[in-house]
Symmetry: C2
Subunit: 358 residues, 2 copies
């Protein structure tokens, strides 16, 4: 187990060493560690070597000029100037919240960015300001629309955070696919099949092979198959893509740049980098803040009190599992898998830094 | 087959007879007929008798004072004053679009309303003004959250309409459940089982019985079961409920009033009537309008060109099936099932009007 502080300082060191300011490296480290403690390690320390390789390949700008290129009182388009996603995203969400201060709501579509880690982090930034936060991002294509055998969309997550009063906030953060891509890798390593409804083969036939993506297969949208509403999952993924990239001028659909260096950039580009979408709504844009929060408390309590089906855990409020995980990990420390620790050590040594193996 | 005009005039007549102005009855008829021609008859003529019965029971106010009760430059809360949903929704969407004219975007949460027909209609109102339209509504509880055996949410649909240039607009309109509730009724009438993943019994066990709702069962969220991501469908339904009802002060979750008179109002109410949520974003709040539309055209063409899986139809753009249906029905006429025609005749006779049986 590693302590939060050790990994945090290590990560700040890595991102400063490749050219980021201390302030920016701190933002990046905070968001990568947020993924670890919230139980989403696929977007945590594991990504450090991916970002390092992208930087080496010239695909990340460590001195970006992140700026507004179009705006109205409640909207903006932000150009991330090739920044690592976390920096473009934090700045974009800050702009959305500034707009919301004045206009009630703020909506920002961002282009020229890269993979930004966990979507929920940016939605949750709004909570501190008594705002509802919304985040979406497109991602490199892995998902086939209903009826298709082509990878056209990313796992395109949506995050929504709503403040409450006595209750902890409602924080939903989910991919628009039945499972996160990382789960396929875990099943593959365990030598297990996956349930039908997650993936299909290169021809579009149902598959239970967790390594099918390496064989030209694709992931399926939420719903799994047409009979079970996969066209609705496709709609969701499409909406995220359009809001993130058509609005902003980023690459959309099959043109979204890969977040790993071993996949090359496509020759054809239809915009700049990866796209995100951010929203902030002041709770008092709808109701006096105290009243809003007590209504939200009542909503949460009502759903906590829902009857469980026999043999099932209690009904959860979105955000509950991540909060429980955070509490546990902050007590027990962060587990970094040996293969990932080895990668981190390699990156550190290339940069003249150190990473302690356990 | 009935002609559009015959059913339209008939419907205007019915809603005027119960006390609506001609203008308001015309709005209601237009939206009910929009459901018919877009191939969603479960929200069309079939509902006339439901609304009539709700009115008889004093649950619809035919002279509503629909008004803003809270606002900022980009938001409003609207009180529908017990109106039929279509009137509260059209007014709310108009307010959202007026806000968007000035602030770039407009967002309205509405309380004190009733069932409003198809969500897509209001999202599509934005298209005429070169805006993106968004609609959500909560609905009477039929859906159990993941792990639960209780009906806590409606089928809570989301509609998103995005203008394009040469291409027809992108119009997604979908319930946050694998299927619409109406499909269960159809299977029941045909004496067919339904696939697992649509419904569960009163204890929360998987079921393939299309009449299970009458036996205390519930519908499942999009995803179907936890393994296939039903917690994501639950998140979506919850977001729709919170935006529609916590924001506005409408009833939420299990307290949403039934849209049919044979189900009584709950004694406990946590707000006023049914809740909706509307959004309008000017496309030129993000990009010059011409550029936005040509990017959207390119997005649509890219997805039209996606490779179909063998044996599957071509990849559809959200809105394609409804548009094809509209074209066909406007040519061939509207089919009203005998049982529904009989209901319409009954309502007409009670009001001293006529409905021709075919």
């Amino acid at each position: 187990m590693y302590s939060y502080d050790y990994l945090f300082d290590f990560t700040v060191g890595i991102f400063m060493k490749i050219g980021h300011s201390r302030k920016n490296a701190t933002i990046i480290a905070k968001i990568l560690l947020a993924a670890e403690i919230r139980g989403i390690p696929s977007h945590g320390m594991m990504r450090v070597s991916d970002y390092y390789e992208l930087w080496k390949a010239g695909r990340i700008n460590v001195k970006p000029d992140i700026r507004i290129i179009h705006e109205t009182p409640s909207t903006a388009v932000v150009d991330g100037d090739g920044a690592i996603g976390m920096l473009a995203a934090v700045k974009s969400m800050e702009i959305a919240m500034e707009k919301a201060e004045k206009a009630g709501t703020g909506w920002v579509s961002t282009r020229g960015s890269n993979h930004f880690g966990i979507a929920g982090y940016y939605a949750m930034m709004a909570l501190e300001k008594e705002m509802i936060g919304i985040t979406m991002t497109n991602a490199n294509p892995m998902v086939a629309p209903t009826f298709s055998a082509s990878r056209m969309l990313g796992t395109n997550p949506i995050a929504v955070a709503v403040p409450a009063g006595r209750q902890p906030a409602f924080v939903a953060d989910f991919a628009t696919t039945p499972i996160a891509r990382g789960k396929l890798g875990i099943s593959e390593k365990k030598g297990e099949k996956v349930p039908f409804g997650y993936v299909q083969d290169r021809e579009g036939n149902p598959s239970d092979d967790p390594s099918i993506l390496k064989k030209g297969g694709s992931m399926l949208p939420l719903g799994g198959d047409y009979k079970h509403g996969s066209h609705k999952g496709y709609c969701l993924g499409a909406i995220v893509d359009i809001f993130s990239a058509v609005f902003s001028g980023a690459n959309f659909g099959p043109y979204v740049p890969p977040a790993v260096v071993f996949l090359p950039l496509l020759e054809k580009q239809v915009g700049e980098g990866t796209g995100h979408f951010f929203g902030a709504m002041r709770i008092d844009a709808f109701q006096p803040a105290g009243q809003f929060k007590s209504r939200m408390d009542e909503w949460i309590q009502t759903f906590r009190d829902a009857k469980s089906a026999p043999g099932n855990p209690k009904v959860l409020i979105p955000g509950d599992p991540e909060r429980a995980c955070e509490e546990k990990i902050m007590k027990e420390g962060i587990d970094v898998l040996p293969a990932i620790a080895k990668d981190l050590k390699g990156v550190a040594e290339n940069l003249g830094l150190k990473f302690k193996m356990q």
